[in-house]
């Protein structure tokens, strides 16, 4: 009987076009969209306007040095006066502008007076000012080094002594630790949206249980020799299969289209299996607890969207405030995503992700226990 119910459920799922859209179409759309956005993020150039009132060799040299950094692109508007351009910033039509005031070159040459550069910016664009300011400070630092070097040379210091003085006392060495595969936004986006949309299976489950209840189908089936547990298991198993197939297709899409490094396939299979049990376990619990489809949809949104943000599916969880990171660790999505990334990026195997699998299975057990406890009451309300 379990097989009969499961087979019927699969047939119904195949007839529901919306199911394919939610479980496959949407995540693929999201993966393509975000992969495109993030892969082009590094090539995006910030445009900053400048006004050179000094028109000196020094100001031209400074502008050239900025251009060489390629941190942002300088633009020049000769049709507007400086004041008009400042007004544009005030109106929010321009984000930032660098102004070399008259006398910049002379001040720099004299060495007695501090040369000034004005950085005008819109208060709303504070996020882009940091990088611009850093570039300008960096170039100004180089001028300072040059000034010190000139002074020391004039004082008769040797090149070795000069090098000693000008070498920074601390050196930061950046080393990327990747055991296998490579880190890119794809290793964030593909597993992230795979995990996120796997939990959307709860929506389909809630809808089906509610339909069976409200149409009187459960009542009718209760007049057949069907056992209660046969119904529960028969309704559960197809959705586990759906999640397994869904995750396989989405990870396969990442692998074939974006060259996603999967790592230990068996470990990934175990994670997918754990996600399937966990997501459908929660789905069963919610389907049997809620009193209406709308209530079920609200619960589903809370779990899928909340879990996506807190679990680090949209962006790394490390970017969240500390207390939110702690809350995120309660979400099964966090453990699923971490497990996937560990296998894909750090070359982890099953034994390395056992804690992650354990947490997901624990959530599944809690969900299934709640569902089993709630099931008799659900059946009673369905037949009365």
């Amino acid at each position: 009987m379990i097989r009969t119910i499961a087979r019927k459920e699969i047939k119904l799922l195949m007839k529901e076009k919306g199911t394919f859209f939610w479980l496959l179409g949407m995540p693929i759309l999201f993966i393509v969209l975000f992969a495109t956005v993030f892969s082009n993020a590094s090539s995006a150039t910030l445009h900053v306007q400048y006004v050179d009132q000094d028109q000196s060799q020094a100001s031209q040299q400074f502008l050239k040095t900025i251009g060489d950094t390629k941190a942002f692109q300088l633009t020049h508007d000769t049709t507007l006066t400086t004041e008009q351009q400042i007004d544009k910033i005030k109106e929010g039509k321009l984000s930032a502008m660098i102004v070399f005031p008259k006398g910049f070159g002379d001040s720099l040459k004299s060495g007695n007076q501090q040369a000034q550069i004005m950085l005008y910016h819109d208060g709303m664009s504070s996020n882009i000012i940091g990088p611009i300011e850093a570039v300008l400070q960096n170039i100004a630092g180089k001028y300072q080094e040059e000034k010190i070097a000139n002074a020391l040379t004039a004082a008769g210091k040797s090149q070795t002594e000069l090098k000693q003085v000008l070498t920074p006392p601390i050196k930061v060495d950046e080393k990327q630790e990747v055991t296998s595969g490579s880190i890119s936004m794809i290793t964030q986006v593909v597993p992230g949206y795979t995990v996120m949309f796997a939990f959307f299976v709860i929506t389909s489950m809630v809808r089906r249980f509610m339909k069976d209840k409200e149409s009187g189908m459960i009542s009718r089936l209760n007049s057949t020799p069907m056992r209660y547990m046969s119904y529960l298991i028969g309704m559960w198993v197809p959705y586990m299969l759906v999640v397994v197939v869904q995750c396989t297709i989405l990870l396969g899409f990442g692998y074939f289209v974006y060259g996603l490094h999967l790592g230990d396939a068996l470990a990934i299979a175990m994670i997918v299996f754990a996600i399937a049990i966990c997501g459908t376990g929660l789905g069963l619990a919610i389907s049997l607890i809620v009193k209406s489809e709308n209530q079920g949809m609200a619960f589903t949104q809370l779990i899928t969207m909340g879990g996506a943000v807190l679990g680090g599916l949209w962006f790394p969880a490390d970017m969240l405030p500390g207390f939110l990171q702690n809350i995120g660790k309660v979400m099964p999505q966090y453990w699923a995503q971490k497990a996937m990334q560990n296998v894909m990026v750090h070359g982890a195997h099953i034994q390395d992700i056992l804690p992650n699998l354990g947490v997901m299975l624990l959530v599944a057990v809690v969900g299934l226990a709640l569902a089993t406890l709630r099931f008799p009451r659900f059946m009673k309300s369905a037949i009365s």
Binding site: K8, M217, S223
Partner: protein
């Protein structure tokens, strides 16, 4: 005659309100038993208890030797329940629906496939086997609804208002089907609030109201005992006749008069004579068949349609 069902002292309540109370009736084997009553009378609750969907708070139901409370699995195997709602998967074909229900009753393989064809022919939808149920009319869906309960060849059919809101063609199909099932010796309990259906299909009837059996027995006996005897007279033209010599119980009914009497033939003769004598031109003069409506009215004081 051997009894197929014995219902004794049945009681069931929901949220402190009794849906059925002290319900008692018997169904003879191989007959069609009508459960007649207005909406909310407790018919569906009774049907659900008989189908083992729900249990009674008190009382007992014995179906073909099995107690529904203690031997519900055995009962489920020998009954076919047709609910008031159409409970089909509308996105699946008629065949897939029947395949599902057949397997739920334990019928499998070739036997099931053959049985599906048989029941589809029985309900007159063999030509729509592979069509999606959502493309069917309401009446066709109801016929598939019944077909789904026949797959395991039940000994006892429970039909809960199976003709609600359907077209005459489907209604006739269902009536023919019930007659053929009766001819095969199946016991049927048929719940409805349409008295015409009970009169057309059932040998025995129980009229229930407010969860209690108002009266139960053979249809003919109930009609004879409570249905009232009367004749109907309709005259040509706009005449206000004086019919008092015929009976004290004369009521206006439609365009004519209903004259209640214990001596039907004698009253017809006297009515014809009176009309001739007074020059009334009759357009209709006939014996009125006793009806369950009259029985219900007689026993409850309200019309079945108004209850």
């Amino acid at each position: 005659m051997e009894m197929a069902i014995e219902v004794k002292g049945l009681q069931k309540g929901y949220a402190g309100k009794l849906a059925v109370q002290d319900l008692q009736f018997q169904v003879r084997k191989g007959t069609c038993f009508g459960l007649l009553g207005p909406n909310g009378a407790g018919k569906s609750t009774t049907m659900k208890i008989l189908s083992c969907i729900t249990t009674a708070d008190r009382g007992s139901v014995n179906i073909l030797g099995y107690d529904t409370a203690t031997q519900s699995q055995e009962v489920r195997k020998i009954i076919g329940y047709v609910p008031q709602n159409i409970t089909l998967y509308e996105k699946l074909s008629a065949y897939d629906n029947l395949l599902f229900f057949g397997e739920m009753y334990g019928v499998k393989g070739k036997a099931l496939k053959q049985r599906i064809q048989e029941v589809l022919e029985q309900v007159g939808l063999a030509d729509r086997t592979n069509d999606t149920v959502s493309t069917f009319s309401g009446g066709m869906m109801r016929r598939i609804n019944i077909a789904a309960a026949l797959l395991h060849k039940p000994k006892f059919m429970i039909l809960d208002e199976p003709t609600v809101g359907i077209d005459p063609q489907s209604r006739n199909h269902i009536f023919d089907l019930i007659q053929s099932l009766k001819a095969e010796g199946m016991t049927i309990i048929y719940s409805t609030h349409y008295m015409e259906e009970v009169e057309a299909l059932c040998e025995d009837v129980a009229i229930i109201d407010h969860g209690k059996v108002v009266v139960a027995g053979a249809l003919n006996e109930l009609l004879a005992q409570y249905g009232g005897r009367s004749i109907y007279l309709e005259l040509e033209g706009d005449v206000q006749p004086d019919l008092t010599p015929l009976s004290q119980r004369i009521t206006k009914q439609g365009r004519g008069f209903r004259i209640e009497t214990d001596a039907v033939l004698d009253t017809i003769r006297r009515t014809a004579e009176l009309c001739q004598l007074r020059g009334y031109r009759t357009s209709q003069l006939e014996v009125v068949r006793p009806s369950l409506e009259a029985v219900f009215l007689e026993l409850t004081g309200t019309s079945l349609r108004d209850a």
